[in-house]
């Protein structure tokens, strides 16, 4: 057993215990740790964004562009390469400093306009920025997301890729394998595909509200609820494991890094 002599390990350990003290009951130590955590996180995020976005992507290119205001695009590009301006984006080197400045100021202006939300009289200005963000974001995301989240998933309820060959989920071969060699493995192999198809259709039936859930549709919708519940159960099981993992992680830290009880 070798207790840590690192002050930061001690601070982390004490704050961990402060946070866990909430399990007994709410108390000032927990509140103190919670507030420190929120403050530290905000400060950390701000510093990271400032040093990895504002300075290299805006401030430094702007300063260089202003200082070489009269250069031609070719001169400006040569200057950037010669001075190893690692923070000057390549795209800006292809333009004159004046154009580069404009290209830098437009996104900066759009960013600043977002803050007009705090001033009711001119808050409408923020809509331009939001429109740009939504437009560009949707334009980028929709085609690819449609492909991966809808088309491929739809395909996945019909066929399955097994290496280089594509087999239908309702596979006659799988059933033949099961009847020729009955066993748990071959049974699940045969039944999993049809179960996935039936499950998908039943869950879709549950969310189909244009017709009253009666008769076949009602039965399918009820089966859909069961499939959903089993899905939620699996998610809940995973959630329990995730939360326990966090506890294990903290305990490993306390017992290993802090107290040195285990290796």
């Amino acid at each position: 057993m070798e207790i840590s002599t690192d002050i930061w390990v001690w601070i982390a350990a004490i704050f961990t215990l402060f946070i866990y003290s909430f399990l007994y009951k709410d108390n000032p130590l927990y509140k103190f740790a919670e507030h420190v955590m929120v403050g530290l996180s905000t400060g950390y995020y701000t510093a990271i964004v400032f040093h990895t976005v504002i300075v290299p992507d805006f401030w430094e290119p702007l300063v260089h562009s202003i200082s070489k205001f009269t250069m031609s695009p070719a001169e400006f590009s040569s200057y950037a390469i010669a001075n190893e301006l690692t923070t000057l984006p390549t795209v800006l080197q292809d333009f004159s400093p004046v154009v580069a400045i404009i290209m830098l100021l437009i996104p900066a202006l759009l960013g600043l306009m977002l803050f007009t939300r705090f001033i009711p009289k001119i808050s409408w200005l923020s809509r331009f920025s939001l429109a740009f963000i939504l437009g560009a974001g949707s334009g980028l995301a929709i085609p690819n997301s449609f492909q991966t989240r809808i088309l491929e998933q739809l395909r996945g309820t019909i066929v399955e890729d097994q290496g280089s060959i594509v087999v239908p989920l309702f596979s006659i071969d799988a059933w033949r394998d099961f009847f020729s060699a009955p066993g748990i493995g071959t049974f699940f192999e045969a039944v999993s595909g049809p179960l996935l198809i039936i499950g998908t259709l039943c869950v879709l039936a549950y969310f189909f509200f244009s017709k009253e859930h009666k008769g076949v549709l009602g039965g399918a919708a009820k089966a859909g609820i069961w499939f959903l519940m089993i899905g939620f159960g699996a998610s809940f099981g995973y959630t329990v494991m995730a939360r326990v993992s966090l506890l294990i992680g903290r305990m490993q830290f306390l017992l290993t890094d802090w107290l040195g009880i285990i290796d």
């Binding site: 690692t86 690819n144 395909r155 998610s235 494991m241 903290r250």
Partner: protein, 291 residues
């Protein structure tokens, strides 16, 4: 008996917390191990990393934060050890703001740990920054960054985390886009893996292997089934399976013993709690019927 069940239903939840806490501590301190069965998604993940060749680096996107580290750190360490062990070069990066310092620490620590092992084994081989691994740090934007890397990695990251031009790093000399990389490993507790699949995996046909927290694992199995994700590590269990496959008894393998005992306790309380509930309800019904 009924008074026991009545008392049990009113049990102070702090006793349950104490039982769970003690189970974790005892399981971690006691020197016992558990066997872990390998599931197909983890096997696929392992096989994809194992198939990477030394001439094409592996991208490891460490999109993690402190709150997800207990589950994701073992995955990252195992992936790095697996890659370095096979002489595969690694391009590390983070697309989550909380990730860069963690990612850099894990790369440096893993390389140092393996170098110490090589030295102890009398091997001359060393894992050197710039030659076996580079860390590009954090870049804001997510989707544009992933798309940019498909065209030219230097469009997204001109310099690495330490400010060195990518052109000045030996292992990056012939690496420009996804064609020059073997596969992508993204480890995250967020929806970032979906972006890697949508904007790198689908358009550039590069395998995307994923490690996620247990909470989000169930959302991603559909991507594995459709072949869009080349393997999946789900939570601590997935990490422990992967550690077993590469013969590395890391933090996840040790944690699974605690997971086992905590699950036993939780199941015990659920079964006993439900039993008590139904018994008390039946008793109350009988008493009402008598009246």
């Amino acid at each position: 008996m009924s008074s026991f069940f009545e008392k049990f239903l009113k049990i102070d939840r702090r006793w349950i917390f104490l039982a769970v806490g003690l189970a974790v501590v005892i399981a971690l301190v006691a020197p016992c191990q558990m066997s872990t069965t390998i599931t197909p998604p983890v096997q696929i993940f392992h096989d994809v990393v194992a198939a990477a060749t030394p001439d094409k680096p592996l991208i490891v996107s460490m999109d993690v934060g402190p709150s997800t580290l207990p589950e994701l750190e073992p995955m990252i360490k195992a992936t790095l050890r697996h890659a370095f062990g096979n002489n595969v070069k690694v391009i590390g990066l983070s697309l989550l703001i909380t990730g860069p310092s963690i990612g850099e620490r894990l790369l440096v620590d893993t390389a140092a740990e393996m170098n110490a092992e090589f030295e102890a084994a009398g091997e001359e081989r060393r894992i050197i920054q710039g030659e076996e691994w580079v860390f590009l740090g954090y870049k804001l934007g997510l989707t544009p960054v992933i798309i940019d890397m498909g065209e030219e990695i230097r469009n997204a990251f001109r310099v690495d985390y330490y400010g060195t031009y990518l052109d000045d790093l030996p292992m990056m000399q012939n690496v420009h886009n996804y064609d020059d990389m073997s596969s992508i490993v993204t480890i995250s507790g967020t929806a970032i893996p979906e972006s890697w699949v949508a904007f790198a995996g689908a358009p550039y046909d590069i395998p995307v292997s994923v490690g996620v927290t247990a909470v989000s694992a169930s959302n991603y199995y559909t991507y594995v089934q459709t072949g869009q994700m080349a393997g999946l590590l789900g939570g601590l269990k997935g990490a422990a399976e992967y550690e077993r496959l590469i013969n590395y008894p890391g933090m996840a393998s040790k944690g699974m013993v605690a997971q086992f005992w905590v699950h036993i306790i939780i199941v015990f309380f659920i079964v006993l709690g439900n039993t008590a509930f139904f018994i008390i309800r039946a008793q109350k019904k009988r008493q009402t019927d008598k009246k």
